[in-house]
């Protein structure tokens, strides 16, 4: 598999809606 790693996830808002079957990316929320 390819793997989307944590360096590339830095500063993005990553949302796991597991029950809803979707994963979200949002603009940086932790800076």
């Amino acid at each position: 598999v390819g793997i989307f790693g944590n360096v590339q996830q830095q500063t993005l808002e990553v949302v796991y809606d597991v029950a809803g079957g979707k994963l979200g990316f949002g603009p940086g929320k932790c800076s």
Binding site: G2, V7, Q9, L12, F25
Partner: protein, 418 residues
Amino acid sequence: RQATESRRLQHAHTVKISSLLPASVCTSTKGNIKKASLKVVHRHGPCSQLSKDKANAPTLSEILSHDQSRVNSIQSRIAFNSRKNSLEDSQATLPSKSGSSLGSGNYFVTVGLGSPKKDLSLIFDTGSDLTWTQCEPCVRYCYKQQEPTFDPSKSATYSNITCTSPLCSQLSSATGNSPGCSSTTCLYGIQYGDQSFSVGYFGKEKLTLTSTDVVNDFLFGCGQNNQGLFRGTAGLLGLGRDKLSLVSQTSQKYGKYFSYCLPSMSSSTGHLTFGNSGTSSGVKFTPLLTDSQSPSFYFIDITAISVGGRSLSISKSVFSTAGTIIDSGTVITRLPPAAYSAMRTTFRQLMKNYPMTDALSILDTCYDLSNYTTVTIPKINFFFNGNVNVALDLTGILYAASASQVCLAFAGNSDATD
């Protein structure tokens, strides 16, 4: 020429070299604190209380080497699951180990366990399921950790799970190993691909996420023999999709909904938040896929990549052949060979004015920028199914060991079917 230059700069980051290097001080402790929200800290960054032992801190090269161990392990675990259905039952054909490597486990959160609660810093990992911490009396071995080791005998709310409990048998899918039994107490064992492991009692305990968010009877591993790359942290928080993960155990409370923001190493703290607070504006969603062979991983579909505004020529089948997972515990993104090759070629073209230098472990596109004050770096965008366009932060494009060794922060898999 001006128009071309303007277009080039529109698709590039222009930054000071100093901003690429790890900061030496924690610049902020703000983070995005919400209900059921935990502070996320980089394990080796300046905001970490766990990073004071500089002498034993891993080098960047060691971090990348550990990262490769984790990736190898994930690949073999998924390949093993895939092969399992296509082979007749034959013990001789099966690998002796499974489970993912912890790698460098870069990010951790601090939770409270027991009554009265004891604070514990746990690596948070969407690539594994069982939560465990080191426990007294450390029957066989406990590595050194920052906080006092959890002692269940001093907690009013701890109890062991018995061997005959149906909960005990759930360990098989969560750990990849059949549970054991000591007297009447259920035993778990989890071994990771880099030889790290934890073995201990399977118990339940009160877990305090925040002062207002408490999970009673949380099932976890009380480790009595723990060895490997966990140094400093008290254990691991499993956020995969198995029944025993924290996400599944709190499904009634948080609806299997969580979010996080990982800080760049130099920029303070992030958050790990459980539940839908409804405040995530500007978030775009891609379908979350499930692989029946490896159901605990979070699969997503990459459809395209652009570098410096140029869409890379990559057939969609390159991504769909093996699929992609998102993992908070893997450091460097791994791409199928054809996709990485296309990215590297374009990135090198756009960086041709800068001198290249030696590779850094798995990173083969590195530059010596020590003679520059500012540099212009191509922007990189990932496109996911559902028309989701993610512009990577600069910290997701470059991985800097020093000003003289700044590398493209991607690596390719060795096999297109990995």
